[in-house]
Symmetry: C2
Subunit: 205 residues, 2 copies
Amino acid sequence: MKQKKGRHTGSESRRRDIINAALACFSKIGFSETSMDDIRSRSGASTGSIYHHFKSKEQLAAEVYIEGIGNYQEELIRVLKGCEGPREGIRALITHHLTWIDENAEWSRYLFQKRHSVFMASAEEKIAAMNREFGQKIVKFFSRHIAEGALRPLPPDIIISLAFGPCMEITRRHFSGHAGTDFHEAAELLSEAVWRALSAPGADG
Amino acid sequence: MKQKKGRHTGSESRRRDIINAALACFSKIGFSETSMDDIRSRSGASTGSIYHHFKSKEQLAAEVYIEGIGNYQEELIRVLKGCEGPREGIRALITHHLTWIDENAEWSRYLFQKRHSVFMASAEEKIAAMNREFGQKIVKFFSRHIAEGALRPLPPDIIISLAFGPCMEITRRHFSGHAGTDFHEAAELLSEAVWRALSAPGADG
DNA sequence: GTATTGACTAGAATAATATTCTAGCATATA
DNA sequence: TATATGCTAGAATATTATTCTAGTCAATAC
């Protein structure tokens, strides 16, 4: 083999190129619809290079997913930490969700698409662990305010579903092409509604 | 070719066999993970027969999807029609959702998995049309009660997100293996919470 | 300075699997 | 009986994920 052509060097940047190309392809046309060849040509990497960095298409998809979801969760937790009252927390949670979706369109489109799908077992575990940890932090926030009597004493999964479910549904509709209430307004309305759903009678946040 | 072996006959039943086999495979191991060969061996149909009845794997998946979602929507609308008050309606909607999920585990697992994915353009349109019609009926129900002052005057997409989002999220968690509140109890709690979120001040259902 | 090593890359070869093709069978109808 | 039509079977083909072979490059050892 001769290999005199422009050879890319520097492993980390090549790796990033591949992840970026994969994200672009996946979010644009979907996981199963993009071929490794699409990623190859878009990233400029060769087949061999891609498989050197990533075990398989699935693992590549998983790493992209983990990077995205990690960022989302991290930022949300940080925002939540800055909140004292429960009402403020609920608002922050919902606003952050919609803002993040809006500002990270490519990521969120992909995360949403790939949300229910099956990854390799190894990634599955890591994602589960991330979600578990994330969930615990969220639950801890709500528990505190339940204990203080500001929120109703509902089971954690019910609370999480009430808080995140509407956001998720708005997001899903957004990605399905429904032009609805704009995100800023939606954040307002959902925050208030979720507060009504979760707050204890008499609580004012 | 000789073809003396047990030959299946009767087109409609063969078609059903294929759909059933596809549903079983898809719901168990997912769409991309099942090969046409899996469906072939499970259904007992030949490759040629499958492609005679269905244009492609995608179209097969779409027909399965449409059958399932159609049944879900139809039953929900029927249940909703039997409801007078808004509170009763919200409860019926949520209870029906969770009951249907529970009683149609295979279907719902598949519908949920396939929810965000891309079908062939033709199916895409049909599904969009079904969803549009379904959405309109739901919105009509809510609009009536908004007009009567029982529900808050929120935009349709916000209302739908508040009503369905929590159900969807509970369902998603269920399918992700989270053991949470059982469906009967969850239906109670979510119905009340969603009522609080949507009802106008002073309304009692 | 040269040899060696290990990370990385290229592109061809292979394997898995969706789809198409060709032809046989079965039933209805003229 | 003849013919048309719908259905089925299974081989052939095409597409695409993955593996394999043969390098290149940079750093370190000698």
